[in-house]
Chain length 335, copies 4
Amino acid sequence: MLKIGVIGYGYWGPNLVRNFNEARGSVVTIVSDKSEKQLERVRSKYPTVQTTPDAQALVTSPDVDAVVIATPVSTHFPLAMMALQANKHVFVEKPMAASAAECQQLIAEAQARGLTLMVDHTFVYTGAVRKIAEIIQSGELGDLYYYDSTRVNLGLFQHDVNVIWDLAVHDLSILAYIHPHEPRAVSATGMSHVKGEPENIAFLTVYYDDTMLAHVNVNWLAPVKIRRTLIGGSKKMIVYDALDPAEGVKVYDKGITASHAEDVYKLMINYRSGDMYSPKIDVGEALMTEALHFIDCVTRKQTPLTDGTAGLHVVKILEAATRSMAARGAVVELS
Amino acid sequence: MLKIGVIGYGYWGPNLVRNFNEARGSVVTIVSDKSEKQLERVRSKYPTVQTTPDAQALVTSPDVDAVVIATPVSTHFPLAMMALQANKHVFVEKPMAASAAECQQLIAEAQARGLTLMVDHTFVYTGAVRKIAEIIQSGELGDLYYYDSTRVNLGLFQHDVNVIWDLAVHDLSILAYIHPHEPRAVSATGMSHVKGEPENIAFLTVYYDDTMLAHVNVNWLAPVKIRRTLIGGSKKMIVYDALDPAEGVKVYDKGITASHAEDVYKLMINYRSGDMYSPKIDVGEALMTEALHFIDCVTRKQTPLTDGTAGLHVVKILEAATRSMAARGAVVELS
Amino acid sequence: MLKIGVIGYGYWGPNLVRNFNEARGSVVTIVSDKSEKQLERVRSKYPTVQTTPDAQALVTSPDVDAVVIATPVSTHFPLAMMALQANKHVFVEKPMAASAAECQQLIAEAQARGLTLMVDHTFVYTGAVRKIAEIIQSGELGDLYYYDSTRVNLGLFQHDVNVIWDLAVHDLSILAYIHPHEPRAVSATGMSHVKGEPENIAFLTVYYDDTMLAHVNVNWLAPVKIRRTLIGGSKKMIVYDALDPAEGVKVYDKGITASHAEDVYKLMINYRSGDMYSPKIDVGEALMTEALHFIDCVTRKQTPLTDGTAGLHVVKILEAATRSMAARGAVVELS
Amino acid sequence: MLKIGVIGYGYWGPNLVRNFNEARGSVVTIVSDKSEKQLERVRSKYPTVQTTPDAQALVTSPDVDAVVIATPVSTHFPLAMMALQANKHVFVEKPMAASAAECQQLIAEAQARGLTLMVDHTFVYTGAVRKIAEIIQSGELGDLYYYDSTRVNLGLFQHDVNVIWDLAVHDLSILAYIHPHEPRAVSATGMSHVKGEPENIAFLTVYYDDTMLAHVNVNWLAPVKIRRTLIGGSKKMIVYDALDPAEGVKVYDKGITASHAEDVYKLMINYRSGDMYSPKIDVGEALMTEALHFIDCVTRKQTPLTDGTAGLHVVKILEAATRSMAARGAVVELS
């Protein structure tokens, strides 16, 4: 039974505590938060769980085998490093840390100590994204042409990171999973509408070596909630709507064929349009799948699907995007 | 009765012929097209209309007072210039011409001769866009924060212009009307998925002097048709869906307020959410409104709402966008 | 070349004239309407077509081989009978006539004279309904359980027939095509909200010999337009949305299985849910398919798919429904 | 602090336990269920709550002031009667009991003992239905013309009651609240598709004294989930979609006006279409509102909004509907 200490009981923390508590193979032993009011909530709901305002006490407790970190991004690195140095496995919220350099240090520390380091790229563990990856890997879409995502709604404005770090991080983790290629360059634009605060609207383009182009539209200040991604291939195309539980993934047998007619210099574009289908999606809670995967990786000393390297991959793009955005879209190469 | 000659009877030409023929105050007298098959269609539908494969013959005919041009973009300039030099008024499809320089010459020629020059920025004449402009001008939205448009579907691939010139031109003409400010800079990204052909997917960001940011997502290779624009303001926000004839414009009483609580250094963001309403939209055909406006401008020597200057404004941004796209998003300043 | 005379140039007549004029094998020669204003429209659009306010003159003209009737329901019988007695083939709008007795007389007259008599059950000729029929006939749905249709919008109130005769007629003609079984009984409820006028809202249930139940919800006074039908089978189920041109027919691999567990007296219901698919639909205009079918039946002396018998089948149910509605739902048996 | 005993911890019971436990003014002290497995779940989640398989023990316990009943319909009467006779207040699931006669006995018993008897008509306590009632009561819709509800999905088949008792009960309770008039007659049709089981699809029409007509379409065997109600009035109309949390209530300024033109014998129907608006809806959990109302009624000896009389009103219609359905729609008068 893996003993879990959870740091941070704000927006996402309660979901982590619930899932790690219910997951077969783990139990939450201690929860830490700076707010006494939040700790009171923990005690009322989980009378047997210890609480403490002191993250260090949690990290060093013998009642903790693994530390789950759900705090603001800027604190991910110090907390995760402290946990690793106390020889605890770490499960950290996305984005993994505030810079690629920080990610690299955490990876090195975990590796040196033989500890499991996993990043909470939740969408990778949803039935919908798994099904999409399966379809792409089967070759059904043909060559990937684009990934075009819109992820907008009203709230929750963050103070320490911009909207790309908060929302586009989901798309970048999905991309790393369904299109496991190295991105080459990034261009981003965006704006802040609250003086002194990070950008609340942003648009990100990611270039790869191949014909693939990724684009992500993120916005904290939209009147409606949209979570829709178009994925274009040379043979078929997908529309993924994360807000539609019943028919969230639709596969369209649509596309073009280019041909030279009589005139060899003139290209003819023909349009194909066939049936559409919507595969059945596993609707289990992603976080439970993820908790079980973490427990399994710790127990059997396996590398998590979304390990530190996956977290670093995403943070590199986020860093580049922020630089590009400051230069109003100027391309930033990823080495 | 204004006698109209129409050059080009391909995709859009039939709509122009129909509307200028039915409009009170004008009659179509001659139609020109390179394809004899298309001219045969004209004769079968409009037995009294003359047809000719020779655009010059049309332009110089005494049976023509005004020339309507619905041909590929690269031919707009020579045809429009020929018509102006024959002392004919001109109504030209969007985009006005293939370069800002061309636009400027057409404007100068029309002005020197006292002729009407109008560009077919169709959306400006729709009930929905008119209503949106009215709402914005009333101050109901507060300061404009963003215009974020998605305009995607499968087809029609163009050979002489990229998808920005074909589709984003609609958004730029709408923007010029509802937010009549000078854009300052442009960043664009995109890609071609058919070798040797122009970009079929593109993303365009337009910067202004103020807090406004415009973004346009255009795609000829999408599995579904989307025509949706989010318009964010400091007080209210609009969702405009051009495919929903009944409830195309929705106005949301939503937004944020920023305040300093006890801690003056910490900004609190509060979210407001009130009623939504969808104003009744005039569903008359935009092209008829436009035809009547053109006839009126010619007759009464008025300046059209979408005159050569409006056409130039849009083409300047298109030129800059194409330059930026070639440099993978590098910002291009608009002087 | 079949010479067509069209009686009635109101709401639907212009579509009939256009299609029979464009169809290969027929030409419209005369149009008749009581309104001189409507005839003026005909002449302006079709300069070579004759017009007359006198239906009898049209029917007896040697320039007419077949008569198309698009007038109020109460006039269908006298006009169609007059045309048949003048030895003209007849294509009549739905519903075929104002009573089953009238339908039977028309069928007998056409048969006695060897003339073609066809009823305009338009939906039977749409790509969507054809595809649905094909799916049902293949056995993919299993046993049919129900057909549940909602057909509501604002307008057009009729004065001579109630909403069942105006709108449910579409569903009854679809049902006759996709489920060619004899209905056994009818129950209908409804109400008029305009004094002295026919019912503007109604609900119709049709019973068959088998497990099938049909229900139709029709309403002239609804705030939104809905055209949606659920079709349930023992194996699969269909949702048909006639307003969705792209994905109008969706086939769901969903259903139940009933089984006896340990306790043989207790039935266990299990739910199955698999993939959904949306077959590609032929989007050609139904009325053109229909016009060509009529021409073909006349020329080759074939029986139309929607002949007088099909028209009678539908009118019988409409008559029974009106009787049931007057008795607030009391069942009316169909002999 | 009102001490609550809950009988039945199946589908809905857990929601009742959670809400009565969290509600200010009440605490759940005992839970009873026939299944030891379900009781184990209670203990694991609420360590301080007592559990028992014996409903009578719960009802007679001094630790219980009020009994909440969430068991199959056929047991509502004996359990509620037992609770009342033990001098406990009662909160019972909908429908109140299996017959009007049972309801009347419960009402009499509660009244004789001065006890609170409340029925869980949940929808009456939702923000959406409250807002609809407010709009209707303000006169904004004019005279009510119809209430037309579709409430279909796949599952949960019941064995002891048909789909009307399971699903239409929601609409009948909403109707009793928003249109507090006596229904006069009922017509219902339906069918069972599982041998020996109750009807799984049904259609219910309710007649009133006035111009109002109610219709409810319920189905346990539908491929998609729909919860949509159209409410028509002489001035405005509402579309209520219970599955749309953001814009669930839309008010349309649409309708008709009837007028006599030149010809006094010919009625002209004109259509009006203005703006639509969607009022902000309170999204708090209905069951919490309801729990607080029950506590308040017990404490302050007030009559609940959904008291025994409201429960009886609904059960009377359900009884009549079942009789009508057996007679294939024959009208059943409500005395």
